[in-house]
Structures are given as C-alpha cells and as structure tokens.
C-alpha cells in the first residue's frame, strides 16, 4: 500500500486501436473474421511508452507537452478511468480530478445535485459534502444559480463549479487538466490561489496546462512528455526551459520572413564585453533589409521562452532602401539567470506590419538566480529587482 497522496507509475504502456472500427456488432464480426481467416493482427497506436516515475505525497508536478503527447491519457490512467496495457499504476488515497472542462458535471442535474453526486462518486458521505457545500458555492460564485440545471450554465460557470467541487472536497491527490483556459483572469488567479492552499494542506497535485506560467506558479517538478515517452523529469524551471527551447525552434523556423522589411541579422552581446549579465548594459544589433524607404516604428522585446515578452522597447526610425544597421543599448536587464528570447518587429507609423513580431533568437544571461522560495510563495515573477531590507 502506498502512503496517502503518493503516486507510483511503473513502466506503463498504453495503446489504442489504430484501425477504423466501431462498436457495432457488424464491425466486430468483421474484425473477428479477419483475425481468424486472414490471420491479420490488429494495428495499434502507442500513446505512452515506458512511463516510469514516482511522486511523493505533497509534491506538485506539472505534466508538460504538446497536443497529443499523451498527457491526458496519463492523467486518465492516474484517475483509474483508463487502465494501462502494461506496467502498473498505484495512487494512494482519494483522488479528486478535474479532467476535461466539465469534469464531474452532469448536465441534467442542478449545480447542487452535481455537487452531491460528485462527492458520492468520490466516496464521501453526504454530510461531509454538505459541510463543505457553502464554501464550494461561494468559491464558484454561483450562489444565485446553484439550483439551476448545469446545462444552462455558461462554460465558465461549469468550469468554476467543476474546479470548486474537485478542489474543496479535499482529495489526497488532485489531478487538474486544462481547466484554467476557460475561466476569466480573476478566476484563474483564484484557482491558482486555491491550488496553492491545497498544496500547503499537503495534497499532491498533478497539473496539465498549456499556460506555462501557471506551472511555475504552482509546481516544483516538471515531467515533459514527448510523443509518448518521458523526455525530461527535472525541477520545473529546468524542464520548462528545455521545453521552451524546443517550442522556440519550432516557432522561429515556422515564421516565414517575406515581408517588405526583413530582419536579416541579429545579435545580443554585453555592451562592455564578456558575458551578457543581468546587471550590466546589453547591446542589441539588428540588420534590416528594406524594399523601399519607409518611416517605421521598431519594437524589441525580451521574453522567457515563447510566451509573451516581459518588457518591450521601441523607437522611430527612417529606414532607407537596402540594408541598414540598428543598435539598441539596454541599460539593464532586470532578469534572473537563464535563457531568454529576443523579439523584434517593424511596423509603419500607422501600425501596419512590415516585419512580423516574432522571436528572433535566444541568448543566455548570467547573473543572480531567483532564490528558491517556499512552495506556497508564487514564483510567477520573472524579473529581479534590487531591494534593501531593514528589520528592527
């Protein structure tokens, strides 16, 4: 028996049928006949191969990967909805899961009935659900509509109810899949907040999302799934930066450079020589190639990975026909040590795109590392600010 909250995934394989088949008698007979008469073997699509990891009770793990990498299937197997083909999975304690947006939600029942139904499916007695009911309704902001049928809820309302139920019924393991995408910004913030509270209470969290900053805010460890295998299992920052590199090569190569203005050369270096340091000036040099002379706005930005930039700077310039060189000196980079991307774009003064806004190159910054804060403290903050403290 595993201790409550621990997860043990051991050499797990999962496959699905790759051939076209329907759950109909006719198809099944056809398949059976092919198998017996023609000795054809069924074709399989391997969704997960040799997945092997352990999670300690109270750990917060992010599952990272592109669409179709097997994250959701893995989560479903952790939740015992699906079973592996080979290997075994053990999860200690009660599991609360928010898989798919309307998790645990039955459209024909009211919000109230759903709450009790879901609680009963988690194995909670009615009175325990009743004890937490008010909290759930309040968190989901559904006080007025809790007795309405859920099918008349907006998708945001359904998601809020689903999240509130899963997060407030105090499971030992909380599985969350792609839910933050639906809620509005304040509610996303609330969910992150609640996840941190749940974590502090000792719940194990497994999170799947495409919002990479949400990972950093809540998880300590990142498992990167790539085409059904574990590509990396490391502290979240490391996994994320590797994943971002992967995504970037993807992004940079996919943006075709065919506008009227082309950025042909880019470099980032320390203005005073040596490594690019966070606390020293940085020189950015661009070479642009124009088809015709134009008055343009130049934009530069720096991002952590392929997400939106942390900051941008801009300048007006007259660009002549042919190649011209542009230098920009950034007085200081308020960034932690790590790998960053330089973004650039050129627009007309009226805002028309001349060279599309996109990541141009990645570079490494040496400097202070962000201290490892206790888990409950947000590590969303990507920038470093000098601060002087006094204690009396």
């Amino acid at each position: 028996m595993l201790p409550n909250g621990a997860i043990d995934v051991s050499h797990v394989y999962k496959r699905f049928h790759a051939d076209k088949r329907r759950a109909l008698l006719r198809d099944q007979i056809q398949i059976l006949r092919n198998r017996v008469v023609r000795q054809t073997r069924p074709k399989w699509r391997w969704v997960l191969r040799d997945i092997d990891f352990k999670v300690e009770a109270g750990e917060a793990v992010g599952l990272i990967g592109t669409n179709g990498s097997g994250k959701s299937t893995l989560l479903k197997m952790l939740n015992q909805i699906m079973f592996p083909y080979a290997g075994h999975i053990d999860v200690g304690g009660r599991i609360g899961a928010l898989i798919e947006v309307r998790s645990g939600i039955h459209p024909d029942l009211s919000g109230r009935e759903n709450t009790f139904l879901y609680g009963s499916l988690l194995g909670l007695p009615r009175r325990e659900v009743a004890a937490r009911f008010d909290e759930i309704v309040e968190f989901a902001e559904l006080t007025d509509s809790i007795d309405r049928q859920v099918k008349f809820y907006s998708s945001g309302m359904q998601m809020r109810l689903g999240f509130a139920i899963a997060a407030f019924l105090e499971p030992e393991v909380l599985l969350v899949d792609e839910v933050l995408a639906v809620g509005d910004a304040p509610f996303q913030q609330k969910c992150l907040e609640r996840m941190r509270q749940v974590l502090e209470a000792g719940t194990t969290l497994v999170l799947v999302t495409h919002d990479l900053t949400a990972f950093e805010a809540t998880t300590q460890r990142g498992i990167w799934l790539k085409d059904g295998v574990v590509a990396m299992d490391a502290p979240i920052r490391q996994t994320l930066s590797a994943y971002r590199d992967f995504i970037e090569t993807y992004a940079v190569s996919s943006a075709a450079d065919s506008g009227p203005v082309r950025i042909t050369k880019v470099s980032v270096s320390a203005a005073e020589g040596g490594h690019v340091r966070a606390d020293a000036p940085v020189a950015v040099r661009l070479v642009v190639d124009c088809d015709e002379a134009v008055d343009a706005n130049l934009y530069l930005g720096i991002s952590e990975g392929a997400a939106t930039p942390v900051f941008t700077v801009s300048d007006e310039a007259h660009l002549p026909v042919g190649e011209s060189r542009i230098d920009c000196r950034l007085e200081q980079l308020p960034l932690a040590r790590g790998r960053y991307a330089l973004w650039g774009g050129v627009y007309t003064t009226s805002g028309k795109s001349l060279a599309e806004w996109r990541p141009l190159l990645t570079f490494d910054v040496s400097g202070a590392e962000l201290g490892s804060a206790p888990r409950a403290v947000a590590r969303l903050a990507p920038i470093v600010i000098g601060a002087r403290w006094e204690h009396s």
């Binding site: 759950a23 008698l25 079973f83 899961a97 998790s103 939600i105 039955h106 024909d108 194995g123």
Partner: protein
C-alpha cells in the same frame, strides 16, 4: 511502430472478491445518487408521473385478461386471472426494465464514465434499484386487485421474499452484463426490445408454468429462472402452497450463476470501457 513486451510486464488487474465487494459497498452513496437522479429525471418530465410505474403492468394485465382468459381460456387452477397475470407481470416488468435500462446504463452516462472512477457496475445496479422501486409502486395495484376479486393472499405468502431475491439476482446479473456488452456492441440496443417482447411470451406470465412440458421444465427454469419465480409466487400467494422445491432450487442456482457469471464477465470488460466509450 511495434512494441514487444514480455507477458509478465502486461498490466493485470488483481480482482479479489473481497476487495470488489468493499469497493462496491464504498460506492453505495453513488448508487443512491444515480438511482435518485434517474428516478427524478424520469418522473419530472412525464405528465403522468408516478402513474407510469403502475400503468405498464396494469395495461398488460388488462390485455392478458381479455386475450388469455376470455379468448384463449388459459387454465389457472382456480386462481382469479387478473391476479394470476399480475403476479407474473410484476417480476417480468422488474426484469425487463432492468435489462432495457441496463443496456443504456453506461452508454448514457458517458460524461461520468470519463471523469470519475468508481466500480462501473454501479450504473446498472442503480437502474435495477429504480426498477425495484417501480415494482414497489406497482404492488399497490396488487392490493387493489385482491379487493376487487375478494380474494385474500394466503398465509404462505412469505415465500414471496425468497422469490424476490431470486429474481433480483437474475435481473442484476443480466443487467450488469448487458451494461458492459452494450458499450462494445452499441447496436444491441436495437435488438433488446425485440428480445424482451419475445421473452414476455416465452416466460409463463400470461399462462401457467404447467404449460411447459414436465420433461423440459427443469431445463427451462435453469435457463429462465423467472419461470420458477412466477410459479412460486402464484403457488404461495394465491394457492396457499409452498413453492415447488425442485423448481425453486433450480431457479435459485440458475439466478446465482447469472449473477456471479454476469458480474465476473462484466469485470473483465470493465478495463476497456473508457477506451471504447
């Protein structure tokens, strides 16, 4: 892509009966919630509400009385025909509702299937529970019929309890099994109403078990324990005798095999339900 794995690496579910029963017991709230939900959903929408539970067996009883008593002159050994037919229709309705609803139990709960884990037989059990409540409501008519026919239930009526258990075991076994099969063979849903209609006539509901030749009666009851149940009910409630011992034992054993067998087969199917559904 091919992946070759040694046999011993393959995932095996360790299903021990004790553990399965414990899991099921832990899910009793879920059974209750699901049954309550089905119950409400059904009667909220229907204009006649609760009357539906009564209407089906009563209509059939009236039709049978017309056709079999006055038309075909079915021999009932002195039992008033409406009571005779109704005592057959109660178990039959329980069974047919359990099966026809059982087929939809998992297919119709796709949303839940993909989100939360609990033993999947819970869906079918909830359907049988609803059918049982329907039967309890339909029983009120039975008392009315006793009044109309100025007929008193016999003191041996307590035999109805073991009969009820036998038919519950049978209904559960078939319903649980069908709930799983219908996920893999969706078109079975279309076949079920026809099979059930046929079943109504090959089960001694409108006529007496004695119409089945004595030489095959044992085998018949082994295949269809409802025959034994209905016969036992009529003998004990209407005739004041104990049910036929041999027939009852066969029916009980058969129902037990249906229950255990259906459950075991279902548990084997359970593993792949979410992959297909």
């Amino acid at each position: 892509m091919t992946v070759d794995l040694p046999r011993e690496a393959l995932f095996r579910r360790h299903l021990r009966p004790g553990k399965m029963m414990a899991d099921l017991w832990a899910s009793r709230e879920a059974v209750r919630s699901l049954a309550e939900r089905d119950w409400r959903a059904r009667y909220k929408q229907a204009v006649l509400g609760l009357a539906w539970a009564v209407l089906t067996p009563v209509m059939l009883m009236l039709i049978f009385t017309l056709v079999f008593k006055h038309g075909a002159k079915v021999e009932t050994d002195g039992m008033p025909y409406p009571l005779f037919a109704y005592l057959g229709l109660l178990p039959w309705t329980l069974f047919s509702t359990s099966v026809s609803q059982g087929v939809l139990a998992i297919v119709g709960n796709n949303a839940l299937l993909n989100k939360v884990y609990f033993p999947r037989e819970v869906f079918a059990i909830a359907k049988v529970l609803v059918a049982l409540i329907d039967m309890a409501i339909a029983m009120t008519v039975l008392f009315l019929l006793f009044g109309i026919n100025t007929f008193m239930p016999r003191p041996t009526s307590y035999w109805a309890i073991p009969m009820l258990l036998i038919m519950l075991a049978f209904a559960l076994g078939v319903s649980i099994f069908m709930s799983g099969v219908s996920v893999y063979l969706r078109d079975i849903r279309q076949a079920i109403p026809i099979i059930l209609q046929l079943g109504l006539f090959i089960t001694p509901v409108a006529y007496d078990l004695s119409y089945i030749p004595a030489s095959v009666r044992g085998i018949y009851v082994a295949i269809n324990p409802l025959g034994g149940v209905i016969d036992g009910l009529r003998r004990s409630v209407l005739l004041g005798e104990a049910p036929h011992l041999g027939i009852t034992v066969i029916a009980a054993c058969s129902a037990a095999v249906y229950l255990v067998g259906g459950y075991a087969l279902f548990k084997r199917m359970e593993k792949g339900l979410a992959d297909v559904a």
